[in-house]
């Protein structure tokens, strides 16, 4: 049955990430409205991917919002790759916004170690309010893991994610939720629920091959499109995130 978000060919409308390699892997981009988990260990490029996704969106006229949990925006922007295509006017015009979640916690009076059900609902409603107020089409939460640490009950984690995903998707907002993994790519305590709920899962990692450490990316799941499930090697450059296929050559142990 044709749906309002499908074109005449039955394909879902795409949110072109602007990261050529990822758009290629996804046959044209992320299906619009999908909530995608970007999961990986430290230093594997999750934040760079997310910021590039937002910058390209803003350049294309889509309002973009980055919700930072782990580090203050000022520090984040100081350390982020200076993309050649970044334009200061994007932030000045409000096309690209950075918000520190801890400030929101303070404003809402929920700056504490553990959230209740009502506080989770309040948080999701506040995020939804921001998305509405600024007509946000691309959204990043960096990271979902940090929020989950305040949700002691797994049921609350599930509830938070489901509410967030439903609200963002209903607004046609394409979202990336950053999820931290251990240094060997294992899920951290309290992790795991996200993968099941998200529409898509992109895993970034470190692959050690004969003493070399390669940054890798793999799309494990993406609802609404066929996609490559192969592993790619990525590079973080001022020209953006670049990807090439991981060479197998019979030399990669354990099929890693």
């Amino acid at each position: 049955m044709p749906s309002k978000d499908r074109d005449a060919g039955g394909e879902r409308e795409r949110c072109i990430t602007g990261i050529e390699g990822i758009d290629h892997i996804l046959n044209g981009g992320i299906p619009r409205g999908n909530t995608v988990l970007v999961a990986g260990s430290v230093g594997t490029g999750k934040t760079s991917i997310c910021i590039e996704f937002l910058v390209h969106g803003a350049l294309e006229g889509e309002n973009s919002l980055y919700l930072s949990v782990t580090e203050p925006t000022a520090k984040l922007l100081k350390n982020v790759i200076p993309f050649d295509f970044f334009d200061d006017r994007l932030t000045k015009q409000g096309r690209l916004r950075f918000v520190d979640l801890p400030h929101l916690y303070e404003k809402l009076g929920i700056d504490k170690a553990e959230f209740t059900f009502d506080e989770v609902k309040l948080l999701v409603d506040t995020i939804a309010g921001l998305v509405d107020e600024h007509e946000v089409r691309r959204f990043v939460l960096d990271s979902i893991t940090s929020v989950n640490y305040r949700l002691k009950d797994p049921e609350l984690i599930r509830d938070f994610l489901l509410r967030l995903e439903t609200i963002l998707s209903s607004k046609g907002c394409t979202s990336l939720l950053v999820s931290e993994m251990g240094s060997m790519g294992e899920a951290l305590p309290r992790g795991g629920v996200e993968e099941a709920i998200a529409d898509g899962v992109i895993v970034t990692g470190n692959l050690e091959r004969r003493g070399d450490l390669l940054r890798t990316l793999q799309v494990v799941k993406m609802r609404g499109t066929s996609h490559s499930r192969a592993k790619y090697v990525l590079d973080l450059t001022t020209g953006g995130v670049l990807l090439v296929p991981l060479l197998k050559g019979g030399s990669v142990a354990g099929g890693a």
Binding site: G239, V244, L247, G249
Partner: protein, 188 residues
């Protein structure tokens, strides 16, 4: 005809986006570099991306200075300086790859440089297949060449792969036949 001129003439006779294996003797090396970078690339108005896995980029740059070849349109992907723990000052036209075993990173750096200067066509020089073969097994090296050359061909770039005749093995010869449109030797 000098080695440099001969190489340039041979390359000029090839169709665009050709992949060429250049079989050289050691004593022809710098003449070959001159023929490609000075004569051929200039005549065809090409940017040059020079992947060096044999000697540090700075050594080649020093030779280019002696030969009075401008560096304006030449960029290096240096796969050897880092592994030598060289403390030499980095030239602005040189990008380092940690090790010649990081073949994917070589492709990524080439991609980066091609995007950085998208307006002109490129000549990508791989110097050399023999030194890459020291660090990588035949399977992964064949896979690397296959992907690199096809990608460059699709983007209209020339590829020249150096092979030093003194160090060629059957494996290397077979690999070059597989990925190249043409194998060229210098007579002199």
């Amino acid at each position: 005809m000098t080695v440099a001129t001969e190489i340039s003439e041979k390359l000029l006779a090839l169709p665009e986006a050709s992949a060429v294996s250049l079989r050289l003797r050691t004593e022809q090396y710098f003449d070959a570099v001159q023929g490609m970078l000075d004569l051929f690339a200039s005549k065809k108005d090409l940017d040059v991306i020079y992947i060096t896995t044999t000697i540090p980029a700075q050594s080649i740059i020093n030779a280019l200075e002696v030969l009075e070849i401008s560096m304006d349109r030449i960029w290096f992907v240096d796969c050897i300086s880092q592994i030598m723990m060289s403390s030499a000052k980095r030239h602005p036209h040189v990008i380092a790859v940690e090790s010649p075993t990081m073949l994917e990173n070589i492709m990524l750096k080439v991609e980066y440089l091609m995007r950085k200067n998208p307006s002109r066509k490129d000549l990508v020089v791989l110097d050399s297949i023999n030194s890459l073969a020291i660090h990588n097994n035949t399977k992964i090296l064949s896979e690397f060449l296959h992907i690199l050359v096809n990608n460059l061909r699709a983007r209209g770039a020339y590829t020249v792969i150096f092979s030093m005749q003194e160090y060629e093995s059957d494996d290397i010869r077979n690999m070059l036949v597989l990925v190249s449109d043409e194998t060229t030797e210098i007579e002199e």
